[in-house]
Amino acid sequence: MITTTKGLMDEASLDKRTGVLDNANEHTTWVEYWLGEELVHRSAHVTFKQMPSMTGTVEGF
């Protein structure tokens, strides 16, 4: 059973579609459940790979 816009529904009664995005910044997966032509559930899982760093600098006298 999963949460949907129509309440809890049996996954088996829905059309499941998945996707993935992978690049230097993230690895993301998502899952969608469709009831006919209607999207009733979509979840996403973003895994961060590398984020901005701050470079410290100092000056000599």
Binding site: T5, E26, T28, A44, K49, M51, P52, M54, T55
Partner: protein
């Protein structure tokens, strides 16, 4: 304009002034505070059309997502303390939120692609903006999984 991944410039200045308490170090007393309590932090989501970035100084509702199950201001970071105790390796200092950031059972139908992490203890001062591929959520859950906490991938790194 678009959201841009960045460590907020104001955050860099505030680090020098000791505004943010990620961990729980033992300090030499300046007045009376020697064992500070770590601050609390939150994470807010922003629409793909927003303009969050290095110039952010505090949390803002401008461009923030809205929808069923989402509260303005986002969610609190969780864990015994919100960030893993800051550490260093080689010449790089780093820290990462202790737990993944999860928005449970929300519906966010307008595309979003950024999260702002900010210090809710210290006047909602901005820490950093992190971008990702544009997403929507329908009666579902958004999970932001934190990277490995090390000198190469830690969420906040000062090299």
């Amino acid at each position: 304009m678009a959201n841009a991944q960045a460590m907020c410039t104001s955050f860099k200045k505030e680090l020098m002034n000791g505004h943010h308490q990620f961990g729980a170090p033992t300090l030499v007393s300046r007045t009376s505070l020697t064992v500070p309590t770590p601050d609390s932090f939150k994470a807010a989501l922003y629409l793909a059309s927003a303009t969050r970035g290095a110039a952010d100084t505090v949390y803002s509702v401008t461009g923030e997502v809205s929808g069923t199950g989402y509260t303005a201001g986002g969610v609190a970071l969780t864990g015994a303390q919100d960030w893993i105790e800051p550490n260093s390796s080689g010449t790089t200092a780093f820290s990462t939120p202790t737990a993944n950031i999860v928005f449970t059972t929300v519906t966010l139908t307008t595309a979003f692609d950024a999260v702002l992490i900010y210090n809710s203890t210290q006047g909602d001062k901005a820490v950093s903006v992190h971008t990702f591929g544009s997403q929507t959520i329908t009666a579902g859950t958004l999970t932001l999984t934190m990277p490995t906490n090390d000198a190469t991938t830690g969420l906040i790194r000062i090299a």
